[in-house]
Assembly symmetry: C2
Homo-oligomer: 107 residues x 2
């Protein structure tokens, strides 16, 4: 599921996975490493997400270049929860069609 | 919604939009043009889709390089219908969460 705003994907699987990694790892740099993503790309995605939100999803401690920690705000936690709920409910609601589509594929 | 098979997206929004364009345009080359996609890329996506299916989604008439027409098979029609049903039902099932997520974004 992707929520787009003009050309930008404001919210999609990549940003949600990154928020989850930040929650687990405690910093953008460690989160980026855990997702095999460059620090630069992770920082850009976080920045893009926070700019698109009324209130930011993460809070970064000050600290040298990529040195500080990063924690989720209640908004960040809420985004993860809502997004994962959408996935689970969508899958449940569409189980029949997804099975039919999968059965058209070669095993 | 994407159905993946290993590293490949066997079925996702790009392939479904391409099937719809082929249905409307009657050939892969015209469908590619209508989606602002190269003929090469469109042909590759159709080939990838057909190879992943037990029975193909399209039938191409013989004809010179990108010359022949292309029609959907009943399988192709079924894929479009099931995929669009999944989108509509998922959106209905998740309306509350999607509204909540959208409200976290700047207007």
């Amino acid at each position: 599921m992707r929520i787009t705003k003009g050309e930008t994907i404001a919210l999609g699987p990549g940003k949600v996975a990154l928020l989850e990694a930040i929650r687990e790892q405690g910093s953008i740099s460690a989160a980026a490493r855990s997702l095999d993503m460059s620090y630069r790309r992770a920082w850009m995605l976080v920045d893009e997400l926070n700019r698109s939100l009324k209130s930011p999803a993460t809070l970064s401690e000050q600290g040298g270049q990529s040195g500080g920690g990063c924690v989720l705000t209640p908004v960040g936690e809420r985004i993860i929860k809502l997004y994962r709920d959408v996935e689970a409910q969508a899958e449940a609601a569409c189980a029949r069609q997804i099975t039919s589509l999968t059965q058209l594929l070669k095993p």
